[in-house]
């Protein structure tokens, strides 16, 4: 996929992230069930997982930085985590490249890490005082599941675009 198209899709997914966050505001007391959208991350992973690890590192850092400043307001969380998780997936590239199921499962695991790592760091530094069990049940499970479903859709969309591009070239 062309980098220009990839960035357009990334922006679209980031805006969708905002849309879902706007429409289904999280209950940060974790009394009710909720989920956090990671569509931009999912798109980034599914578009760039075939690229070499060094490019993934820079791309992840750049996209994470843009996301932090313009969308998430969470600098430097995504700036650090996006490249690390992309590199982690580039290590598993051979494993996930040909199998869609493994690709989606690895993506779900990455979403899980993306969700869990900041919270665990915040809790370990005593910046956050929450019941981890309640948080896990009321947020993490649904987050992984819903993002997994979206990942299937995005994967289908990305593969379709790539196939069309390949057909045009051939």
């Amino acid at each position: 996929m062309k980098l220009r198209n990839a960035f357009l899709i990334m922006i679209l997914l980031a805006l969708l992230d905002e849309l879902f966050a706007l429409w289904g505001a999280m209950d940060f007391t974790y009394q009710s069930f909720g989920w956090v959208p990671y569509l931009a991350f999912s798109g980034m992973y599914l578009i760039f997982f075939r690229w070499d690890w060094k490019t993934q590192l820079y791309l992840g850092a750049f996209i994470g930085l843009i996301y932090d400043f313009c969308f998430g307001g969470s600098f430097p969380v995504n700036f650090i985590l996006y490249p690390l998780l992309l590199v982690e997936m580039s290590i598993l590239k051979g494993f996930i490249q040909g199998d869609r199921v493994y690709r989606i499962l690895t993506g779900c695991f990455s979403v899980f890490l993306l969700e869990v790592i900041p919270v665990l760091i915040a809790v370990s530094f005593k910046q956050l005082h929450i019941s981890l069990v309640r948080w896990f049940v009321h947020q993490v499970v649904l987050t992984v599941l819903v993002n997994g479903v979206f990942m299937i859709l995005i994967d289908g969309f990305v593969r379709d675009i790539e196939n069309r591009n390949e057909n045009k070239v051939s």
């Binding site: 980098l3 805006l15 905002e18 849309l19 706007l22 429409w23 060094k54 490019t55 820079y58 791309l59 850092a61 750049f62 930085l65 843009i66 932090d68 400043f69 313009c70 600098f75 700036f79």
Partner: protein, 278 residues
């Protein structure tokens, strides 16, 4: 940097630029200085994306609320209809209660009479002013020609008796089979005897013929049963004199008596007969 390819170099430059710019913007914001870049991006994002989406969400929310309002309205209408129904039921029960209380007072006043309480079971629209069927029959001690009265006064005579029901011929009937002996009490202690023979529907009054035509009666006098010649006691109120018809010799020919009660609508009655109270 030499080991980086073109894309990687561009990305590193962009990262450095965005990082530097972003950090500067953060610093400026913390110093409460103007932040045109950040504001512009925020406004663009708000105007192009968040505002339309929020508006769309509000539209859905409004429609949803409208639906809820509609449902609430339906529910309230239902409740209101029920309330009206309850009100009608309440008024009906209240009227019945009043009627029964009045009948109880009549019962207490009839110490020397035999009486049976009954409800009106059937009143055909075809013979509305002719007959009614009541819920007391021979098993309750009802006999033919006993007087039927509401709390306001006499309304008819028992015409047919079955074991548990009876048919009552109302005084407003066009064909009264039995005359009713009545009397009008005078101020001097005497009474004027008469016979209730028929009902004049045009005048809405009973026609009473005096046994002694030379007697004088006055409009407004009360008319009650005399107890003579029937299976019922004396003193049961029948009506009030509303008109007196004289013949050419200034002799009373007909006395018109307004019925004591609204015969059109009553649900409870007493069947009253001569004899000892049951």
């Amino acid at each position: 940097m030499g080991k980086l390819n073109k894309l990687q170099r561009i990305l590193v430059i962009l990262i450095c630029f965005v990082l530097g710019f972003g950090t500067a913007m953060f610093g400026l914001r913390q110093n409460s200085l103007s932040n045109p870049g950040y504001s512009a991006w925020t406004y663009i994002k708000y105007g192009l994306f968040e505002y339309p989406l929020t508006s769309a969400r509000n539209v859905f929310s409004d429609i949803s609320n409208l639906w809820h309002v509609y449902a609430d309205n339906e529910y309230l209408n239902e409740q209101l209809a029920q309330q009206r129904s309850y009100k009608t039921l309440y008024e009906e029960e209240k009227n019945k209660n009043q009627e029964l209380e009045s009948l109880l007072e009549v019962q207490n006043a009839l110490e020397d009479a035999k009486y049976v309480s009954a409800t009106v079971l059937e009143r055909s629209s075809k013979s509305w002013n002719q007959t009614i069927t009541i819920s007391a029959g021979s098993s309750s001690g009802v006999e033919k020609n006993m007087l039927v009265a509401t709390s306001d006064g006499a309304v008819g005579l028992v015409e047919e008796v079955q074991s548990s029901t009876s048919i009552v011929r109302l005084f407003t009937t066009e064909t009264m089979t039995n005359d009713i002996a009545v009397k009008m009490s005078m101020e001097d202690g005497t009474s004027v005897e008469g016979v209730l023979e028929s009902y004049d529907a045009k005048r809405n009054a009973y026609k009473v013929y005096l046994l002694n035509e030379t007697e004088t009666v006055a409009i407004g006098q009360n008319v009650a049963t005399s107890g003579k010649g029937g299976n019922y006691p004396s003193g049961i109120f029948v009506g009030t004199v509303v008109d007196i018809k004289m013949n050419d010799d200034a002799i009373v020919s007909t006395v018109y008596v307004k019925p004591a009660t609204n015969i059109s609508g009553f649900d409870y009655c007493l069947v009253i007969g001569s004899g000892v109270a049951q």
